[in-house]
């Protein structure tokens, strides 16, 4: 067995035995200043690497969304520090390094200075195949002392559909070029033959190949910095300190949880919808004990299936940590410590930990959903402790458009507009969520300028803005989604499709009386008369408009419309085909009729709330002409809404009895039936709770077929 493998196994064992990463913080106690100064240097190194990479990179995802993270790892592959960026990857590169070690790369493949290993196999590391990881070993005094790594999201992988996120994939083998831990460079030089391979297998090879250069440049910077620091501090100190930073973070993580979260048991459930048929169950039971030990139990997850919304373990861990860092550990060192400080149960054989590598995993909506239930549980824990300003209602699922073919310059292309990176955020406990400025997987969210995307893709926007009233209604509302309406221009050789999850359900959940953010969807109209309308200078569609059920594009255009609003596979498109997309929006917080009328008025003035909703949902009367608030009428409206609630609400016990009967009769939707049949089978724990709550017999293991009367 290789030295690294021995060390790794020993480390994992000792952690399981003792529950700590290092027994003591000797160096920190001896000289806290020296300890801190070295860490500052390491952090700056990864930050600088990220900046250089972003400059060399070609992929718009890196330039416009900064989806690019660099990290420094111990010899065994534990993260010591990461740059800012998409924290999905805090753990995914670690997984990749450990996978190579456990699979005897040290002996069978061999590591040496100047080697760079590439991986985009999400079962090994990364969250889906567009996530491309590159790591390089760091040698000092002839010994492998650590790894530097970088990851970027490359929006084209030569999959069955363009853009790297094929919505129609049903197995891994539809998801394009997947290279598991391949050595792509030696002596700091990229291998030409591999570049030829890539250049002939993906639609936009420049992105992949330039990003390789970006990551190699970044990894190399970190490597060289670390070598200098080891010389300055001594190998022994560096190694010991790098382990202590992880232990230090483990302790800080628990201390943080202890000081800001109320101890107790928290439960939340969210779902990830697939197409028109399937619902995926993502439950979380979170416990916080008085010592600040966090335990996260995802027992009850659905089974994997023939769709792209299964996600791998690295993807799930990544997505989960990404939210955890933003919502709780933002002020700690970003490294493996916060991960090890939590107990995480993601049952094997489920949609978030598939039994084998066959399943498609392109759309990470299910793993991102772990962040939604986290937001719910942790917000309640902050609330109970009094930290209302940290309450963050559950966030949105992201969707987007991808396209490929021949672009406006006559070049082959494939890619997507990353507006998925700018949903509305969940409401905060003390003010509204952000409109169009957040994605759960990207704290440094951005949608980029339309002009940048129009330069890259053969599309022209007719309208791009804030989707009114899409955020979840509440005392504080969820952030509104971005809506986009555009048409295909300057090409007739292109295909266009859409990706994204949580369809056809609400994009987020509300909390403490707030409503979920509205559903995400997209429409397309082909063979339109847009060109003629333009020539005649007639009114054109720009937004969905105040009547979503009769959107402008439908009212103003003729053509072949697909308003199925579902996700769909890429299809051929031509000039003047018109596409509409509304992205995710955040959940609301609190009872909508407790919303400050001034906030409602502000939204109406900004045209992000329409008058009828102000009145019907918030119970705020606003004069259409002056936009002034009628306070007396507002009082009246709100009293009326309360009364109506008391009138229509039924005592829970009645409701439970009624629903129990429906379950016994099998009177639930087919979607619900499939959901329960699956999880009652694979999760004894859920089955028990389910039967207990509805007071169902022990033999209730699946929902019975409904009785259908046969009339003679």
């Amino acid at each position: 067995m290789g030295k690294l493998k021995e060390a790794l196994i020993a480390k994992e064992r000792s952690m399981q035995e003792h529950g700590y990463y290092e027994p003591a913080l000797t160096l920190k106690e001896q000289d806290p200043i020296k300890f801190e100064v070295l860490y500052t240097k390491l952090v700056h190194s990864v930050l600088n690497a990220r900046e250089v990479a972003a400059l060399v990179s070609a992929s718009p995802v890196v330039r416009e969304m900064g989806e690019c993270v660099f990290g420094l790892y111990t010899a065994e592959g534990d993260a010591i520090c990461l740059s800012v960026g998409i924290m999905l990857h805090i753990h995914t590169m670690s997984r990749m390094i450990k996978w190579m070690i456990m699979n005897d790369y040290e002996e069978k493949v061999g590591f040496k200075e100047g080697d760079y290993f590439f991986n985009n196999d999400p079962y090994i590391g990364g969250t889906h195949s567009p996530d491309q990881l590159i790591v390089t070993p760091i040698y000092c005094e002839g010994e492998l002392v650590g790894w530097s790594g970088g990851v970027t999201h490359v929006p084209e992988t030569g999959a069955v559909e363009p853009g790297g996120l094929p919505a129609s994939a049903t197995t891994r083998f539809h998801e394009g070029i997947i290279m598991p831990c391949v050595r792509i460079a030696e002596n700091d030089e990229l291998k030409k033959d591999l570049e030829v391979f890539v250049s002939r297998n993906v639609r936009t090879p420049e992105w992949w190949l330039l990003d390789n250069r970006a990551k190699v440049a970044g990894c190399r910077m970190i490597r060289d910095d670390v070598k200098k620091l080891v010389t300055a501090y001594g190998l022994a100190y560096y190694t010991a300190a790098s382990h202590e930073y992880i232990e230090d973070t483990m302790r800080a993580t628990k201390a943080k949880a202890r000081s800001v979260l109320f101890p107790g048991r928290y439960r939340a459930t969210a779902f990830s919808g697939v197409g028109r048929r399937l619902l995926i169950h993502v439950p979380l039971e979170m416990t916080v004990d008085r010592e600040g030990q966090l335990a996260m139990d995802f027992d009850g997850l659905s089974s994997p299936g023939a769709h792209p919304q299964n996600n791998t373990l690295p993807s799930t861990e990544g997505a989960f940590m990404c939210t955890a860092i933003q919502h709780l550990f933002y002020d700690s060192r970003y490294n493996a410590g916060s991960f090890y400080a939590m107990k995480l149960n993601i049952p094997a054989g489920t949609v978030l930990n598939p039994p084998n590598i066959f399943y498609a995993t392109g759309l990470i909506s299910t793993s991102i959903t772990t962040g939604i239930v986290w937001n719910d549980c942790v917000s309640r824990a902050y609330y109970a402790k009094g930290y209302r300003e940290e309450v963050f209602a559950p966030n949105a699922m992201t969707v987007g458009m991808h396209c490929g073919g021949i672009d406006q310059y006559g070049r082959i292309f494939g890619g997507f507009n990353m507006e998925s990176s700018s949903c509305g955020s969940g409401a905060m406990g003390v003010f509204d969520g952000l409109d169009t400025a957040y994605a759960q997987w990207n704290p440094e969210a951005d949608m980029g300028d339309a002009e940048v995307w129009e330069q890259i893709l053969p599309i022209v926007w007719l309208g791009r803005g804030i989707q009114p009233d899409s955020g979840g209604f509440g005392k504080f509302r969820g952030g509104n989604a971005i809506e986009s309406l555009f048409f295909v221009a300057n090409t007739n050789r292109a295909e266009m499709g859409s990706y994204g999850g949580r369809l056809p359900i609400f994009t987020s959940s509300g909390i403490m009386g707030g409503y979920p953010g509205s559903r995400t969807y997209r429409n397309i109209i082909q063979n339109t008369d847009l060109k003629a309308r333009i020539a005649a200078q007639q009114p054109l569609p720009h937004y969905e408009g105040e009547t979503p059920d009769q959107p402008e594009m439908v009212r103003l255009l003729n053509g072949k419309a697909d308003l199925s609003r579902g996700r769909y596979a890429a299809r051929p498109v031509q000039e003047y085909d018109v596409y509409y997309q509304i992205n995710g929006s955040g959940g609301g917080f609190g009872d909508p009729i407790e919303r400050d009328p001034l906030l409602v008025q502000r939204d109406v003035r900004n045209k992000v709330t329409i008058l009828s909703n102000a009145e019907r949902i918030y119970g705020v009367a606003i004069d259409p002409a002056t936009l002034e608030i009628d306070e007396a009428k507002t009082k009246e409206l709100r009293a009326g809404i309360r009364k109506a609630r008391l009138a229509r609400g039924v005592p829970a016990r009645e409701y439970i009895a009624r629903t129990r009967q429906q379950l016994l009769n099998g009177e639930v939707s087919g979607v619900a039936r499939d959901l329960y049949d699956d999880i009652l089978r694979i999760s004894p724990q859920f089955a028990r709770q389910f039967r207990e709550f509805w007071n169902l017999p022990e033999d209730y293991t699946k929902v019975p077929e409904p009785v259908t009367l046969t009339t003679g």
Binding site: K385, E390, D549
Partner: protein, 150 residues
Amino acid sequence: MTTSHPKDLLRDLLEGKLSSERIREIQRLPKDPDRFEKIIAIEQGRVPWPERILVCLQEHLYVVDKQGERIVKCSCGHEFGDYRVNWKESALVYERDPQDGEVYAHTRAADPEFTLLREFYCPGCGAQLEVEAVPPGYPFIFSFLPDLDD
């Protein structure tokens, strides 16, 4: 130097009276260790009943000590019973077809085959305490069971 905020500031914070920039300043500071006690005191001052608040469960709902009994109580005074039992089981429920057009425009709402809206109201004051978005037949979610035992 540990942070500590004046009570008036915290009252304004939880009443939503602070500008988002002022809130940002509070968010950026290290957390104030005396927050819990202060918030409890503020909340105690806002409710019309005498029972001692042990923890704020969520908007409107508190776990209070009523002659040694720990029960869930609404700001309006309505009592939901033992805190170890999900308060939702003593609330009013309204199961809403998301596409009924009353809250969401039809196209913006989830497909009722997949998701129903379950609105929970306080029987005392009609406050909307929680909205669940779950498939038909899904058990009530027991969101929070605080660890109160000493």
